[in-house]
């Protein structure tokens, strides 16, 4: 079963806006999860998301630099 169908079944009792969001491709289980957090927790989640994405970007940059130094050393 694809994700959209699974989500539509999972949230069969929800309203039209929720179903429209699922049909547009949103994974509303993630939204549901976020809605059980407090405002303060969500702001902290955002900071952690920013930090982790920045760390990932830094890792990509470091890997590219390592590949330039020793092209055969990384895979």
């Amino acid at each position: 079963m694809d994700q959209t169908r699974a989500l539509l079944e999972m949230y069969a009792d929800r309203g039209p806006a929720w179903r429209a969001a699922i049909e547009a491709g949103h994974d509303m289980s993630l939204v549901e999860q976020a809605m059980h957090r407090t405002f303060e927790q969500r702001i902290e989640d955002l900071q952690r998301a920013i930090d982790s994405l920045a760390a990932l970007r830094e890792a990509v940059i470091e890997r590219a630099a390592a590949e330039r130094r020793t092209p055969d050393a990384t895979h």
């Binding site: 929800r14 309203g15 039209p16 806006a17 929720w18 429209a20 969001a21 547009a24 949103h26 994974d27 509303m28 993630l30 939204v31 549901e32 976020a34 809605m35 059980h36 957090r37 407090t38 405002f39 303060e40 927790q41 969500r42 702001i43 902290e44 989640d45 955002l46 900071q47 998301a49 920013i50 930090d51 994405l53 920045a54």
Partner: protein, 168 residues
């Protein structure tokens, strides 16, 4: 450049700056899943508020983020208050201060359509979800359409009996 939204917000609140959290961070605060890097706020463009803003960045050099060479902010509070928007960059990250938030209106309109939430023991103003949806729909860019879609679903869900919202 790191983005320290937590420290930016703390500094703004502690300096007594009049602002309302809007756009991307607000959407995330309501439960939308699209992370945003910068911090956007409706800002009261007055000399007094600009003075408080400059105090908030005491010891942290600030630059105009959208100018050639990202020139340092050297204007005084009166000059800053005469601007319509202010796009700032510093070692704490990017802060966009908006004087207008179409179609909601100016700062006072955004304030009227906001509510208070607690962050690290401090009160901060967050634009209400209806106004936020209006903004996103008015912007109409693909990314805003996606966020508006999630926000409409969140609004629908929170108006349903027996369901969160928690904290908003």
């Amino acid at each position: 450049m790191p983005q320290r939204n937590d420290e930016l917000l703390t500094r703004l609140i502690d300096a007594g700056v009049d602002f309302v959290i809007v756009v991307g961070a607000a959407a995330f605060a309501y439960g939308a899943t699209y992370p945003t890097v910068d911090l956007d706020a409706a800002f009261r463009f007055t000399r007094e508020n600009a003075e408080r803003l400059l105090r908030a960045f005491d010891g942290v050099p600030i630059r105009h983020a959208i100018t050639p060479g990202k020139r340092p902010v050297t204007e005084d509070a009166s000059a800053l208050a005469s601007l319509r928007n202010l796009y700032l960059e510093s070692d704490l990250g990017r802060l966009d201060l908006l004087g207008e938030l179409p179609p909601v209106g100016g700062y006072e309109d955004a304030l009227r359509r906001s509510h208070s939430v607690t962050l690290h023991g401090r009160e901060v103003r967050l634009i209400d979800i209806d106004a936020l949806i209006e903004c996103k729909e008015a912007l109409g860019r693909p990314k805003d359409v996606l966020v508006a879609q999630q926000l409409r679903a969140i609004r629908e869900r929170t108006s349903h009996p027996g369901v969160p919202p928690r904290g908003v």
